[in-house]
């Protein structure tokens, strides 16, 4: 029976042109976004790979020089573009992709694309993820707002129910019809996306990229599924189609347009981030304190470049200083990043009521463009910097001047540069991404169950109305 209902409903969507026009528009936007994402990714990947290779080649090709100067010149770490960034750029436009690995200090990622964008960046980026998150629910509303309310207005609903059709079967049929309407549009788009992701991924990461795409698509299926039930439930509760569409559009505006900004402000108010000045002052103060303590323990003085620490000791001093600074950086950056993650967590939980927030997190998490992936890259880059720094200091310690009054006159050669391996960062695997997004996925699934329960309760009331 429910299959018959689904078949009838689906045919109606096709006949009244809604599927063709609204769905067609969404499909055109989806393919445009995919094309733009594909072109951007190809360009960005080629550029980053070339820049990373060139950077390491230049590192190896250094002349003989003082190892600390080599550490000062340092090298760059370029964040690899995740294979699924073409479907959801996530936070990438708002965060840089290059870290300068230099002596003494932990650098931040620089050069975010938003600094080169127009003021309209605030309206959003055209990506497959943005279209599905914002316009996807609207498409469900357009296709389904009158599923029950329209039939009630025409008197068909009463007739159908009087024939003994179970309201839940009716709901199942209509839900299936809506799902099929969406599938007709989205499955071909997903296949094209799979082809693009498969072709765009490096050979070693293809399987992982496709698994990520599958998990990503599953998330959107759950998200849009929840809207299918919300739309059907509201349509069943409202006396007229007009009332149904008014309520649904109000819900959509609240969740798609207002919620991201309101919750983001609320999360920031709940877990405030420090200002740049506060962060730097606290970091510098602790660095100085730790460094002074280390010098006092090692050399019995805190005075730099004084008589008590001859130049031949400067390799040891550098190494001590740097290694003492590592936990300080870990503490300060760790605290800042934990604050950001707490802000994000609060928004993910609000996904129970406003699914977009959980979906956004899950989507960029599976696409490898969320903060967790960014943190993993930044941490890897910082570990590489420390490795480089430690190797240079070790060499200085090993070649300390026996006369005791020279330091910068020492020069090292290519054999030392070759000890530093190239920076290679692999995007974490799909399992890692899923573990980080379990909360969002759980919230989305809970949202789907709640929506289904709401629709079932709303539809069961039809019996009394009939």
């Amino acid at each position: 029976m429910w299959r018959w209902i689904a078949n009838r409903e689906f045919t109606e969507r096709l006949r009244d042109g809604r599927l063709l026009w609204a769905g067609g528009l969404v499909l055109v936007l989806l393919f445009t976004a995919l094309g733009v994402g594909w072109a951007h990714q190809r360009e960005a990947r080629a550029e980053q790979q070339a820049a990373q290779a060139l950077d390491y080649r230049d590192w190896l090709a250094q002349d003989r020089r003082h190892p600390h100067d080599a550490a000062h010149q340092g090298m760059h770490a370029f964040k690899p573009e995740a294979p699924l960034a073409m479907v959801d750029a996530g936070i990438n436009p708002y965060i840089g992709s290059t870290v300068w690995l230099q002596a003494h200090r932990q650098s931040e990622v620089k050069f975010n694309p938003a600094q080169d964008a127009t003021g309209l960046q605030r309206f959003g980026n055209l990506s497959v993820g943005w279209i599905l998150q914002v316009l996807g629910p609207l498409l469900v509303i357009v296709l389904g707002f009158n599923a029950f309310a329209g039939e009630r207005e025409q008197g068909i609903l009463r007739q159908t129910l009087s024939l003994g059709v179970s309201p839940l079967r009716l709901l199942a049929g209509k839900a299936l019809a809506l799902a099929a309407s969406l599938a007709v549009l989205l499955v071909p788009a997903a296949l094209v996306a799979a082809l693009a992701v498969g072709l765009g991924a490096a050979p070693g990461e293809r399987a992982d990229a496709l698994l990520r795409l599958a998990a990503w698509s599953l998330g959107y299926a759950v998200y849009l599924g929840a809207f299918v039930f919300v739309v059907l439930g509201v349509s069943a509760l409202c006396a007229t189609s007009r009332a149904a569409i008014t309520v649904l559009l109000a819900l959509w505006v609240a969740q798609a347009v207002m919620a991201p900004r309101v919750l983001s402000e609320a999360a920031r108010a709940a877990y405030p981030s420090p200002t740049r000045l506060e962060f730097n002052q606290a970091l510098q103060a602790e660095l100085k304190q730790v460094s002074d303590r280390t010098w006092l323990q090692a050399f019995g003085t805190t005075e730099r470049w004084g008589r008590d620490v001859p130049l031949s000791q400067w390799g040891i001093a550098l190494r001590l200083d740097d290694q003492a600074s590592y936990p300080v950086y870990d503490r300060h950056y760790g605290r800042l990043w934990d604050t950001w993650e707490r802000q994000q967590r609060l928004q993910e939980w609000s996904g129970l009521l406003l699914p977009l927030l959980a979906m956004r997190s899950y989507s960029m998490g599976m696409a490898g463009t969320d903060f967790a992936h960014h943190r993993s890259f930044t941490t890897a880059a910082e570990l590489h910097r420390r490795r480089l720094q430690d190797l240079m200091s070790e060499d200085l310690v090993a070649h300390a001047d026996p006369l005791g009054d020279r330091h910068f006159a020492y020069q090292s050669g290519p054999e030392l540069w070759a000890k530093v391996p190239p920076f290679v960062h692999r995007t974490p695997r799909v399992g890692w991404a899923l573990r980080h997004q379990l909360r969002s996925l759980a919230v989305l699934c809970a949202g789907l169950l709640l929506a289904a329960a709401f629709a079932a309760v709303a539809v069961r009331r039809q019996r009394a109305l009939a």
Partner: protein, 496 residues
């Protein structure tokens, strides 16, 4: 015998329609809900804007104070060194111009909030409002430097510009989607027009009441709150604030007029209320959500930014080459270890360590070599802005948003001016320190008064007005076209 019917004066009828509409609106509970919701949104957005601006102003004041404290401490230290009460250290020597030019003596260029800053936060979270200027190349310090969660940057801020650009059109639809269709569906339109009342007068009366109901909270309330906040010192104030506020009110009015014009045009086609609502909603999705995103995409495709990855590579290559050129200086050991007296100024001169000199020359060479590349970025930004101004009219939402952020001083133009003025400050910084470094001239306490300071020069009010006028015209033109279309359709409007 012909009978001529004298049309009654429509001004009187208009007032009567307005009185009646007002009574009907006041009696409608949903209108109260809408009004309350709108007031809440405006209030929250304004409060948030004021709080964010005040927070930024406080952070900037702290930065400026830290700069002043640092400078005063350095001067006091220099005086103590000259009086023989203190010993300089190699990296903290206020007499050494190469140290003072570097991050040890760095000073900030700060962009202050404009009077209308709280109503449109714009890109104030994306673009830094402070740069820490040193003798380093500007590629090193002119980067976004404020700490912000990228998730927050992605979401955007909840300010009055957001409420007006995104939500005001929806409220206009709620009040106007059935402007004529409801009367026709209820059968009252035929009755009304059987009176000596023109359709246009009826429409104008309905429109005027709704426009007043929305524009009072949209314009007058924020203006009033801003004035009070300025009086109480919670909001930035500056000469010309009144004129800017006037243009802002005009811009909001023109934006609202566009959506009212669309409502009238859609109603004039005589479709049922449900169809009107659907058409208006589709128009909103296309004009507010989709068009700006597509426009942004088109502009960035037509005028793409030069590659930042390439810039990073270039910077590294230039650094390596400059370090190689000055390898000899870099290999020279510090002479002052154990001989602190070498760090003291003598007869107005100071010995700059070979490595200190090398570092200064490396930075100077990188800065000179990278300048053309940075100018390419600035030209590209200017090109994008021109394209936006030319084609922005495709989305009234984009025009209104750009116009509001422009007037609030949080848009691209004012930031470009900030960048240009910081470049000028950097130049003055270099002109002050570089000759002193080359001549090994020690800094004296009196020189501290001559160290360049950044002083922000506000945008020209005339340019600001011209851009606001252009935005208002870009909104008025499509509004007039829509009213024209509505007028043409209304001539054949069927009341049946």
């Amino acid at each position: 015998m012909s009978v001529s019917i004298v049309q009654p004066p429509q001004g009187f009828r208009l007032r009567a329609v307005m009185r009646q509409e007002l009574r009907l609106l006041l009696a409608d509970r949903s209108v109260w809900v809408v009004a309350l919701l709108f007031l809440l949104l405006v209030g929250y957005a304004l409060g948030n804007g004021l709080a964010q601006t005040a927070q930024r102003d406080r952070a900037q004041a702290a930065v400026a104070q830290a700069d002043r404290d640092t400078r005063a401490a350095q001067r006091a230290q220099l005086e103590a060194i000259l009086a023989g009460r203190a010993q300089p250290t190699p990296f903290e020597n206020p007499a050494d111009p190469s140290r003072m030019a570097s991050s040890y003596g760095a000073q900030h260029a700060i962009l202050p909030s404009a009077p209308l800053g709280p109503v449109a936060l714009g890109r104030s979270d994306l673009f830094p409002s402070q740069f820490r200027v040193t003798h380093q190349s500007r590629v090193a310090f002119m980067n976004p430097s404020d700490i912000e969660n990228p998730w927050y940057l992605l979401s955007g801020q909840f300010d009055l510009a957001f409420v007006l650009v995104y939500l005001l059109p929806l409220l206009i639809f709620v009040l106007g989607y059935n402007l004529l269709s409801a009367e026709r569906e209820n059968g009252t339109l035929r009755l009304l027009l059987s009176q000596p009342l023109r359709l246009r007068t009826l429409l104008a009366g309905k429109l005027a009441v709704r426009a007043a109901a929305l524009l009072v909270p949209a314009v007058l309330l924020p203006v009033g709150v801003l004035l009070l906040a300025r009086q109480a010192g919670f909001a930035p104030s500056a000469p010309g604030a009144g004129t800017v506020t006037f243009w802002w009110a005009l811009l909001v009015g023109a934006y609202a007029l566009f959506w009212f014009a669309l409502v009238v045009a859609v109603n004039a086609f005589g479709a049922p209320s449900a169809t009107n609502a659907m058409v208006l909603m589709i128009a909103w999705v296309l004009l507010v959500l989709v068009a700006p995103v597509l426009l942004n995409l088109a502009v960035t495709q037509a005028s793409p930014a030069p590659s930042r990855t390439e810039l990073a590579t270039q910077t590294r290559t230039l650094t390596a080459a400059a370090m190689k050129r000055h390898a000899e200086l870099l290999s020279t050991d510090y002479k002052h270890v154990g001989q602190g007296a070498l760090l003291l100024p003598r007869d107005g001169k100071i010995e700059i360590s070979a490595r200190g000199l090398a570092n200064y020359r490396i930075e100077r060479e990188i800065d000179e070599a990278i300048a053309p590349e940075l100018e390419r970025f600035e030209r590209q930004h200017a090109g994008q802005q021109r394209l936006l101004e030319r084609f922005g009219a495709l989305s009234p939402a984009a025009v209104a948003y750009e116009g509001m952020t422009g007037l609030a001083g949080t848009g691209a133009r004012r930031h470009a001016q900030f960048v240009a003025q910081t470049v000028g400050f950097h130049l003055a910084w270099k002109h002050f320190f570089f000759p002193r470094i080359e001549e090994r001239s020690a800094l004296m306490p009196a020189d501290f008064d001559r160290i360049p300071r950044f002083a922000w020069r506000e945008e020209s009010p005339r340019e600001l007005r011209d851009r606001a006028l252009a935005a208002v015209l870009q909104l008025l033109l499509p509004s007039l076209l829509l009213f024209g279309l509505a007028g043409w359709r209304l001539r054949r409007f069927s009341v049946a």
